[in-house]
Amino acid sequence: MTEQAVADNSTVPDRAAGGGNPAGRPAGSTGGRVARRTVFWLVIAALTVIFVAPLLWMLVTSFKTPNAATNPNSSWLPHPVDTSSYHTLLHSGSMPVLRWFANSLIAGLANMVLIVAVDALAAYALARMEFVGRRLIFGTVVGTIFLPGFMFLVPNFLIVSKLGWLDSLWAIIVPSAGGAFGVFFLRQFFSTLPRELEEAAIIDGANQWRVFVRIVLPLSRPALATLAVLTFLTNWNDFLWPVFVLFTASNLTLPAGLSTLQNAATTNYPLIMAGAVIASVPVIILFILAQRQVIESVSRSGLKG
């Protein structure tokens, strides 16, 4: 493996390493190269520990007793394994974590379906149709991407309150669907599709709606899936807005619930960590399944900028 890795490495310029040799890669520095490889892997290992250890600590703590969790000399692994934190959370009336979980799931899925549906329709019109005001509309929509979200906090609170949506999941599902990201994202994708199929279908007498549903949407499955995953993650993790628009314990989403759980349980860290684990599991699973889409969409965002 080392040999192959070294061979691989020689095809890629050594950008991160400290010292270099003016004459390229002279023979006889094998020892130095092995040392450098070792340092490289040590750094990668250290980084991995830094990123994984806190998450493992969260998991193991959730299975400890409150006493073991707050004893600095207790072992890493819980013994005995104590599942009472999960029992407490799942049966608690004042901290209804199952209810929060259901709320987050309902709001996340509804918001996802709403955004993907309305954004795909709008993006298709903006990508493929000719009409008066197209440039103005697209420019205005894209322009709002740069507006900071907190500007909307106060006015949207009042709008949501006038709609009677305060302290209800509607406030979590609907307002964020006004966001421009998905329209921009899908329009860029639709623009890259070959026009020939759509044109052929129109020659065959299909109308725009059928072209959109039968041809464009199936061809766009990867982009639609990526937008769906990103939208769900954003909604599931949203904190600022739910903290201020949801009040009743049974109406909270998980992030807002975690905040009240932290205040109520103070130093019962196994209980708080169990809540955090419950909030993490769905997004970790989703990330494992859709890792490539998530990471690719993030990496592409920079190349546009």
Partner: protein
């Protein structure tokens, strides 16, 4: 528009594949119907609130009161008068946001770049490590916040307990005293968002042509030369993007301070967003809070413009 549509619909229209602008066989209303559902949401929750916010900021707006009298620019001028009710709290919160932004952005721009350079080498399991470093970001601020509140607990947290083992026999007040509270907030933000910036950098690095590195090597460039003369210039647009995005994200900091320090000590880590939220949505003084939002937004837009200027002039020189 109608006439061209009719022309294209004519039976002797040219073959569609030849037509660069595409076949336009939709009714005049079709595009607007496609736009309608999103348009309602966009107008209702983006355009209306953006304008409504200005209107609110010009009123003594308390949504529990029956009347919201017009006060002109008073909500703004109050923030600049020493007798204003919110003046001191607001500017302290702006200062906190400023300190956090200025101190966190260098780390959030540089550390992910170093990690991206590591990940840009070819090695086994590269995509796995890339995913591991990105994982905290998908968790969201609430999970990360309560986790770090626990890890950094001055009395029972695991960080201080490890420091004990390393021979530091005092409890560092990570969440309760300065400058430790800032160290905690910045450190956890780096941990949380490093993967995001690193992946943007990584894409930028892979966009730099390998030929440039080969040419530099032929000229006898050292690794440092290559980094300075090939990598950094090649990354400039990506760095501008990352820096701008990071400044905006740091200026929007809320969850970390809300959950980990709760503004402690003495409201010194209470950020501008916490102040806006508290005044507007807990004390129901929306006029004042809206004025604060617009003031902060103007400051951020100015900073973004300066940032763009800076990168552009450096790019030209």
């Amino acid at each position: 528009m109608t006439s061209t549509a009719v022309e294209q619909r004519a039976p002797h229209a040219p073959a569609p594949s030849r037509n660069r602008r595409g076949v336009r066989r939709h009714g005049r209303a079709t595009p607007y119907l496609f736009l309608l559902p999103y348009g309602v949401l966009f107008i209702g929750f983006m355009i209306v609130p953006a304008v409504y916010g200005i209107w609110i900021s010009l009123h003594d707006y308390d949504y529990l009161l029956p009347k919201q009298p017009w006060v002109g620019l008073q909500n703004y001028t109050n923030l600049f008068s020493s007798s204003g009710r919110d003046t001191s709290d607001f500017w302290h919160s702006m200062e906190a946001t400023g300190i956090f932004t200025v101190c966190s952005v260098p780390f959030l721009v540089v550390v992910p770049l170093a990690v991206a350079l590591l990940l840009n080498r070819r090695f086994h399991g590269r995509t796995v490590f890339r995913a591991i470093f990105f994982t905290p970001y998908v968790l969201g601020v609430a999970v990360v916040g309560v986790l770090f509140r626990f890890l950094l607990d001055p009395n029972i947290g695991v960080v201080n307990s490890y420091l004990h083992h390393l021979g530091i026999h005092r409890n560092i007040p990570w969440t309760t005293q300065l400058p430790w509270a800032w160290v905690s907030l910045i450190g956890m933000t780096v941990w949380w968002t490093l993967g995001f910036n690193a992946i943007i950098y990584l894409a930028g690095l892979q966009d730099i042509s390998p030929e440039l590195y080969e040419a530099a090597e032929m000229d006898g460039a050292t690794a440092w030369d290559k980094f300075r003369n090939v990598t950094l210039p090649g990354l400039r647009p990506v760095m501008l993007f990352v820096t701008t995005l990071t400044i905006l994200a740091s200026a929007n900091m809320f969850g970390q301070a809300y959950l980990v320090t709760n503004g402690a000590p003495a409201n010194q880590t209470r950020t501008a967003i916490m102040e806006i939220g508290t005044v507007g949505l807990r004390q129901y003084r929306q006029g004042a809070a809206a004025a604060m939002s617009y003031l902060l937004a103007i400051v951020l837009i100015l900073i973004s413009l300066i940032n763009f200027r800076l990168f552009r002039t450096r790019g030209e020189s």
